[in-house]
Symmetry: C2
Subunit: 196 residues, 2 copies
């Protein structure tokens, strides 16, 4: 049940078995992508039994959340976005997204994540696959229009760009605008994408 | 008229005087920001006469464009955006912005620029100041609404985010959407910001 030490630089198993599994998952996500990574393959790469991986992580999604050090569960983000009327979806998307960024811990981790996405093709690919599966697809289904995936991709692009200008580039007056002001302004632009 | 060699690693002056000036400008923009950088200070730092800087560059804006290796002149971008009616401004902004990215040279240089902006606080600050002055402010004046600067900042955020998802992260179907499709979809979202 401990790491086999097959990979150079891997720490001896035992106390950090959970960490070994997370590292193996990260490598597999980077090498093969999200879809082609299986719990079994991660277990093999970590030198542990698949049952042990399941002991720590209920699903591949949870392994992904941990491997990418996400500040919160994207499935909860999707659930919060979809919990309400379609008429108010634009504002709700902005409110939920800003909520992720506005906590202190969230902001540091999201900034680090955004920087990795922009500078590493591997991280970009993993995040793209994970976010598509856990957030963009459920929202596309909710919107239910012929080009819903493009619409949701453009919503994501607006929000990522807003995070970039507000928290990383600190462009004024976007950087110091208060949350209500942002929701009031961005909400209708997002709503424009979710309306037919 | 040659570099003084005061800065370690600087090449001997003469043939690359123009390059010296550009390097000095880049340093000054990074250290002091765009507003506080003067042609005279750049000349001093490059160890040349201010008249020589003026010989190569008509203005600080041109020094900025060269120092940041921009694929095209932001003042021309602003002029193209503002050349037409307000009713069609949303589509025109998207068309002009995509035009910058869609040429092969533009795309490589813009990608490199976007990566530097996200990873270097200095580059982020310089670009923020230069773009605000040369593009965002003229467009804000054109829009002429009480919160025009916030609106234009949010337009910029959407476009930067779109470039990031399309060209860097390659999120589908945004990455492979054709240009007309993007203008048709994003245009109304941008128009929503420029209408009162």
């Amino acid at each position: 049940m401990t790491a086999t030490g097959r990979t150079p630089g891997r720490r001896p198993g035992g106390p950090d078995t959970r960490g070994e599994i997370v590292r193996a998952a990260r490598e597999s996500f980077a090498d093969k992508g999200f879809a082609a990574t299986s719990i079994r393959a991660v277990a093999r790469q970590a030198g542990v039994d698949a049952a042990l991986v399941h002991h720590y992580f209920d699903s591949k999604d949870e392994l992904f959340i941990e491997a990418m050090a996400l500040p919160l569960d994207p499935r909860q983000v999707a659930a919060a976005i979809l919990n309400g009327s379609r008429e108010d979806l634009g504002r709700r998307i902005v409110t939920v997204f800003l909520g992720v960024w506005e906590s202190d811990e969230g902001q540091q981790r999201m900034k680090a994540m955004l920087r990795s996405v922009v500078t590493s093709d591997d991280v970009a690919r993993i995040m793209r696959e994970g976010m598509t599966r856990m957030i963009l697809e459920p929202v596309s289904q909710f919107i239910d229009l012929p080009d819903a995936k493009l619409r949701v991709g453009l919503i994501a692009s607006h929000l990522i760009g807003m995070a970039l200008t507000r928290y990383v580039v600190e462009l004024e007056p976007v950087a110091s605008a208060d949350l209500d002001q942002l929701v009031d302004r961005i909400g209708p632009a997002i709503q424009q994408y979710v309306s037919g």
